[in-house]
Symmetry: D2
Subunit: 147 residues, 4 copies
């Protein structure tokens, strides 16, 4: 977000990871929030064999899941622990082949945090490569009880 | 595809499932091709606890993975077993909440099968609901050795 | 829309065109609704030199505008003359080159008409070609006063 | 683009505007490249009554056209005057309402410039507002004669 909107966060990386472990125990082992402030949230996927595809690369759904988690956590960092925010739209470009033996890192920025809809974008990097391997934007619907 | 393009397929549902079991053993247990002809391909995800999210629904990445598999198989059904076709872009709208205890079904139609790019769309249904729970379109890059 | 949702429309092609002429006089000369029922809406762009691009083809923004108009009218056909429904997201695939001297036709289907969001898809055809030249999906936000 | 790829451009803002005036005379009057370097390209739409919509805002297709032009020019700035690069996919989020009486500005960054496909993103600003009014990503196919 930019000037004119709230620059404070309600949940930091530690609080977000605790929330993930409680609410999403099936993914919390692989996906972690590394850093969260008012400008950017960084999350990480520890790639293992379950995420790989033939040709020695990480599967598209694993990258989608990382972007989804990073954007969800970026919204939670602003709104607090609202488990029911839901993705309504996602667009993703797969641009380069991630390394099979390196973690993935998503850098997420909120572009809009409205009463009903939030929009964010994420770049995904394969650790050790300078260029992003994927780009993703998503819209989330904010549940009315939190507006 | 519509009239004017090839109306024959090179791989049917049985051949596609055998290919998935050999190349993608980690997903072949949950995802299956149900039907494939020149007009439509139907695939199915047997939803289990690994695909669920809080609130009793199926995760977005699981729906994305089903659409990705259905579209990949629709391309293979026309081109033969080309393991290296890769997704370059995906757009997905999540429209309704799938039931947690029902399988998901994707209905996929190829819209373009060019020399370099293929475009397809898929509607995803939660078994027992008439309305689609999600809509997805994807672009795949076709490897040059198969053109 | 499918069974289980309202199968009636509040505005037909004639009513939609009268609305466009009144509210959007700058586009109503080129873009027309041809047909509207509960299942599908068809709209047409009479391509002229303003819509062309080098190489003898129709510009991407002209195709985007046709899809946007068709989807907007499909929503109005169900809700009545709500001028303030707004596009929040669009995804478009340009698949084939339209002929420069033929009209374009959009076929639009509503996939969801919720209280806050509507989702629809459109295929765009260049008259005389069987294959679609573009595919588009859009999300509209429905103004609260009409819910 | 980031380190590791070419950091030089073949066409600057002046050369791009001359190209637009020659190849796209119907749009060159409203759309201009303001700045182009290896990191970012900025383009501007001088909004006039033809771009407006009811409610005092700029039409979606006008914003789409600005993003398309900015991304096209960013690719040309690297490749030289290749008139035949074509958009294959676009995803756009309309996030805020632009002012009717202010110009729009697009800031575009190339994320990938491959042999066959280029991917770029653009943020669109309404002059005088700090927050972006729209976000867009597009894929272009690069004609083989230029690879």
């Amino acid at each position: 977000m930019r000037q004119g909107e709230s620059m404070t966060i309600l949940m930091d990386a530690e609080a977000l990871n605790a929330f993930l472990e409680h609410e999403f125990p099936q993914v919390a082992g692989s996906y972690r929030v590394i850093h969260a402030d008012a400008a950017v949230l960084t999350a990480r996927l520890a790639v293992d064999v379950a995420h790989l595809r033939p040709g020695g690369t990480v599967s598209g759904p694993s990258m989608f899941a990382l972007a989804d988690l990073a954007i969800y956590c970026a919204i939670l960092s602003r709104l607090g622990p609202v488990a029911l925010a839901v993705t309504t739209n996602a667009s993703i470009d797969f641009m380069r082949k991630p390394a099979a033996d390196r973690a993935l890192r998503a850098e997420c920025r909120l572009l809009k945090l409205g009463r009903q809809l939030a929009v964010a974008e994420a770049l995904i990097f394969s650790e050790g490569l300078d260029e992003p391997v994927a780009r993703c934007s998503m819209t989330y619907a904010i549940p009315p009880e939190r507006r």
